[in-house]
Amino acid sequence: MAAPFELSDDNVVVIIGTGAGGGVLANELAQKGVSVVALEAGGRYLPEDYVNDEWDSFGQLAWTDTRTTSGDWRVAKDFSNLPAWIVKAVGGTTTHWAGASLRFQPHEWKALTNYGAVDGASLLDWPIDAEEMDPYYTRAEDKLGVTRTNDIPGLPGCNNYKVFEAGAKKLGYKEVHTGRMAINSQERDGRMACQQTGFCFQGCKWGAKWSAAYTDIPAGEATGNLEVREKAHVARILHDDSGKVTGVEYFDEAGDLQMQRARVVCVAGNSFESPRLLLNSHSSMFPDGLANSSGMVGRNYMRHLTGSVYATFEQPVRMWRGTTMAGIVQDEARHDPSRGFVGGYELETLSLGLPFMAAFLDPGAWGREFTTALDSYENMAGMWIVGEDMPQESNRVTLSDAEDAFGLKVANVHYSDHPNDTAMRDHAYKQGAAIYDAVGATRTLPTPPYPSTHNLGTNRMSERPEDGVVNRNGRAHDVPNLYVSDGSQFTTGAAENPTLTIVALAIRQAEHIASEMNQGVL
C-alpha cells in the first residue's frame, strides 16, 4: 500500500521523531520499500521559512514545551526550563545544527577497555567497533556531503577561523583546518554552495547545509513509502500480552488522541523525549516503563562537557560573518591521561550574534565587567569546546511532576559534572585562551556551557541486557519489535559532535530492520 497509510494498518514501521536519527531512518527504510509512518511533534519549515534572526528563529524552531532541571550544572540555575536548545520541527535539530561531521576515533568505541574504570562513572564499551562502523560512516559522509571526505574540498576560512588558525599554529597545534562539515563547499545533490551567511543555527536559507528537512525526508516521501505526519505528538507506545509493541497513541494537530497501529516502533525523539516516552508508556506488564527491566532508561545522560572561549582583540574580527562553526583543532582529541583526565576534546570555532551573546556569554552577569566585553563584540573571536563527558547513572532523565499541555508528565533532566569533566574543561579553557593570547587577545572569556545541544546516552546500547536498554542494533533488550534510533542509544559520547554517528547508526539500523522484516523475524 502507498502512503498515506491507514491508522489501522499494522504493517507499517512507526518512527517517532524526524531528526538526524528518525529522518534518516525513515528515508532509508522507504528506499528499501518498507512502509513508514513518521510522527513528528513539530511543524514543517523549509529554507524559505527560516529567519536570519536569533530570537525569532528560536521562536519558530525551538522545543519550548516545559522541561524541568536539577543537579549542579549551571544550566539548572540560569535556564531552569530550557535544559536543551533543540528543535521541534520536521527534520528535528538538523535544521539548527552547525554541520560538524566527525567520526569517532577507534579507541572511543571501547572507552571502558581503553580508559579503565573511572570512579563514579558508568563507562562501558560499545558492542560495536570502528571497523564495523567504517562502511556506514562512508555512506553517511556521502549522504551528508561532508567536506574533506569523498574528494569534497574544505570550506574557505572566515575571519573567525583565521584568528583561531593563526593562534593554534603559533601554539604548535598541527591538526588545524576548516573542519569536516556537512555544508556544501561546492554545488552538490542539487543544493548550492555555502554563501557564508552566518546563520547556520537558524536554518540554512540557501540549503547549503545538510538537513533532513529538505533532503532525506522529501526523498523518502517521493518513494510513496513514507508518510510524515507533522504536529503529531506521541504520548504512549502500546503493547500486547506477549510484550510486543502494537502501535502508538498520539495527539494530532487538533489535539485529538489517535492510535496508529504498527509492526515495528522506532523511537527517535532525542535524548530527553525518547526516555520520557518509554517511561510514560509504563503498564502493568512494564511497571517501570517500557524496555526498562535494567532500570537504565533515562540514565547515563551525557551532553559533552562543552564550554566556550571568546576573546577580544584590538581590531575587528566580525566573527558573525561566515559559517558559524568554521574550523577545528583536533590535537587535544586524543586519549592522554598525562593531562589529568581520560578522553579528549575538540576545539571548534563558534560565533553567536549579539542577541545570543548577551544571553549566553555569562548568564545572570551584569555591570561593566560584562558590558565592556560586549562593547568589543565587533573585535571578538570565539570557539567551542566539545569533549567526552563521563556517563554517570545519577545523571538522568526522569518523569517530573509537571505536565505538558496534553497532561503528559514532562522530563526532568538532572546533571552534575564528573571530576573528569571539570578537569578536562579547565584544561580546554586554558588551551583555548592560550590560542587567542598567542595572537594578541586583549581579554579572554571562559564561557560556561549553554543549554545542551548534544544530548546522548539515556537509552544506551550494551552487550548485556542488564547494562543498558538496547542491543548492538538499537533493538530494545526487552521488546523485540521496539528500536531506539537517535542519540539516546550512545553508550559513551566520544569527543566528536554526534550527528554523523547518529546518521551512520540509522543507515545501519535500516539495513537490519529491512533484513529482519524480509526474513519474517519482525
Binding site: V51, N52, D53, W55, P156, G157, C158, N159, K162, V163, A166, C194, Q195, Q196, T197, G198, F199, K205, W206, E314, Q315, P316, V317, R318, W320, R321, G322, G353, L354, P355, M357, A358, A359, G364, W366, G367, R368, F370, T371, L374, D375, Y377, E378, V439
Partner: protein, 174 residues
Amino acid sequence: MIETRSLKTLTRRQLLSRGVAAGAGLVVGSGFVAGRDAAWATEMDAMKPESFATLVQMARDIYPHDKVGDQYYAAAVKGYDVPEEVDFAQAGIDMLDEASRAAGFDSYLGAGWEADRVAILRGIEDTDFFQRIRGGLVTGLYNQKEVWPIFGYEGESYSKGGYMYRGFDDITWI
C-alpha cells in the same frame, strides 16, 4: 523604538523648559520623560515620570554601554509603563529609593556616581524586582535592531547574499 508622539512638535527649548533634570541624561516633566538633548521623549501611560526615569537609570547601570543612548534603555523598560505592571515596578522603585536613602543619598537618582548606584543595586540583586528587570533587559535591550549597529553587529544577511562577496574573510591584521 520609543515614540515621540505629540512631543515631537515641541521645540527643544519648550520641552526642556517644561521639565527638570533627573539623573544623568534625563529630563522629567509632567507626563513625560525626555532625553537631556531632547532628541527623544516618551509620554507616560501609567507610571510616574520620576519613577520611569529611575527605571531607565537602573537599566543603564545594570548594562552600561556608554555608546548606547538613553532612548534605547527607555525603550527596553517601557513595557512596565502599563496598568498591569506599574504596581510591581513602583514597589521595586520604592524599595530601590529606600535602599539609596539607607546608603546616604536622597534617592537612587540622587546618587551621582555609577559606583554608588551599582553598590546599591548589588544590595538588592537577589530580589525578584531586580532579577525581572535584569532578565527582561537581556532581550529588551540587546534584541533591539536599532542597537545592533552601535556594536557593529550586522544582523540579517541572506537578503544581501550573505558575506561570500561582502567580507567573510576580509581580516587583514592577523
